[in-house]
């Protein structure tokens, strides 16, 4: 893939990611370049839906009724997601489940403030999720920084870095608000407007430039499958 020459990393690369020569057990020496050898860095592609509208509508209905959340709590808002599993709120009724691995999840709840360090992990996890995927920004911090508006290491505007489908405001929003946000997301998906993954693929260079502007030690491939 072509190299993005927007912002070159200003921080030296970690030792384990440097190009090096390794001697194999059979005596051969070969060169390892971890970032390019260990990851597939093909760019994401825009994946159109099914040709038949009725099939796509059916799939969209299924997607909306089966939201699998990636269990990744980025900030204090993660504590508001846990009550959703309990008998009091019981989000399982609405087809919402938690999956521990990004491969199986299709909804990423950014729960609260997002520091630059976490943003890096969030991007990796987000990119490992499969198309179509959705992002819910939880709490005011994801909207405009919230109470961390002048903090030196939290991002202020989530949709600069990831395509966001729904924002749930509040500091912190109650679990009811989160449930209402999920219902809103379901309406969006059913209307066929939950195309965040394709948006991400389409404006890939713009998102990458924004991400690299804040993440100075970019030591991963541009797209983590």
């Amino acid at each position: 893939m072509q190299q993005d020459d927007v912002v070159e990393p200003r921080v030296p690369v970690k030792d384990e990611l440097k190009k090096r020569t390794v001697k194999g057990p059979d005596g051969f020496e070969f060169e390892v370049d971890p970032i390019h050898d260990y990851y597939c860095d093909a760019r994401p592609e825009v994946r159109p839906g099914s040709y038949l509208k009725i099939v796509e509508d059916l799939f969209n209905w299924a997607r909306s009724e089966s939201l699998w959340i990636l269990g990744f709590g980025t900030g204090c808002g993660a504590i508001e997601m846990r009550p959703l599993m309990t008998p009091r709120f019981d989000a399982y009724r609405y087809g919402i489940q938690w999956r521990p691995t990004p491969r199986q999840a299709n909804l990423f709840v950014i729960s609260g403030y997002l520091s630059v360090k976490t943003l890096k992990r969030v991007i990796r996890s987000y990119e490992q999720m499969q198309n179509p995927k959705y992002v819910v920004g939880l709490g005011s911090c994801t909207v405009n920084g919230g109470m961390y508006w002048d903090s030196y290491n939290t991002i202020k505007k989530l949709d600069e870095y990831l395509p966001v489908d729904v924002y749930v405001t509040g500091c912190m929003p109650r679990p009811e608000a989160l449930l209402a946000g999920f219902e809103e997301l379901k309406r969006i998906i059913r209307a066929g407007k939950g195309e965040g993954a394709n948006l991400y693929a389409k404006n890939f260079d713009w998102y990458k430039a924004n991400q690299k502007r804040v993440i100075h030690d970019w030591d991963m491939p541009d797209y983590n499958w």
């Binding site: 200003r10 909207v143 405009n144 030196y152 993440i215």
Partner: protein
């Protein structure tokens, strides 16, 4: 506590003493006098727990103040030792051999204040921040607001209220009348 301070005064040169509570005093000591004093407190006087190691940036005096707070579990008392180091040559002796936990504090201080602790394990690795390229962020000459405004994209339309004036306007009579 009094007797302890008397004892210490006989053995070590102590600076100004602040008695915060009956069970908590702060003592200012010289840079070179810290280590023997800490060792004495730990081994002889029962202050076995390093509660925290933190720093204050006295930018006006061009000094960093390091505070070593140690705790005596058995008698339930604390002593804070204050050491002043110059800001432009910010470096301090490491105490990770007295308390292994100090290494973590020292890593944090190295990253957040830029105070060096030569010889402390992994002190030069990044601790919380990743890829930080600016001044250490807890120094007072680091302008957080300007940095945040420059580094991050902001959403327009944000209102800010100063909490004191805002609450005064909302709560007091002349504020509501206005």
């Amino acid at each position: 506590m009094r007797t302890l301070l008397e004892n210490l005064k006989e053995r070590f040169p102590l600076g100004p003493i602040t008695e915060q509570r009956p069970d908590l005093v702060f003592v200012t000591v010289e840079r070179s006098g810290l280590r023997p004093l800490l060792a004495h407190l730990r081994d002889r006087e029962g202050f076995t727990h390093l509660v925290l190691l933190t720093a204050v940036d006295w930018i006006e005096e061009n000094l960093f103040q390091l505070t070593y707070l140690v705790h005596d579990r058995r008698r339930g008392r604390d002593i804070g030792l204050r050491v002043l180091v110059p800001r432009d040559a910010a470096e301090m002796e490491t105490i990770h051999d007295l308390w292994p936990t100090a290494a973590t504090y020292q890593r944090e201080l190295r990253e957040m204040f830029g105070i060096g602790f030569p010889g402390s394990p992994r002190v030069d690795e990044e601790f919380i921040l990743e890829g930080w390229v600016d001044l250490p962020p807890y120094r007072r000459d680091f302008d957080t607001k300007a940095f945040a405004e420059e580094a991050f994209a902001h959403r327009p339309g944000r209102e800010t209220h100063d909490p004191a004036t805002h609450m005064r306007e909302r709560l007091t009579a002349q504020g509501r009348a206005k």
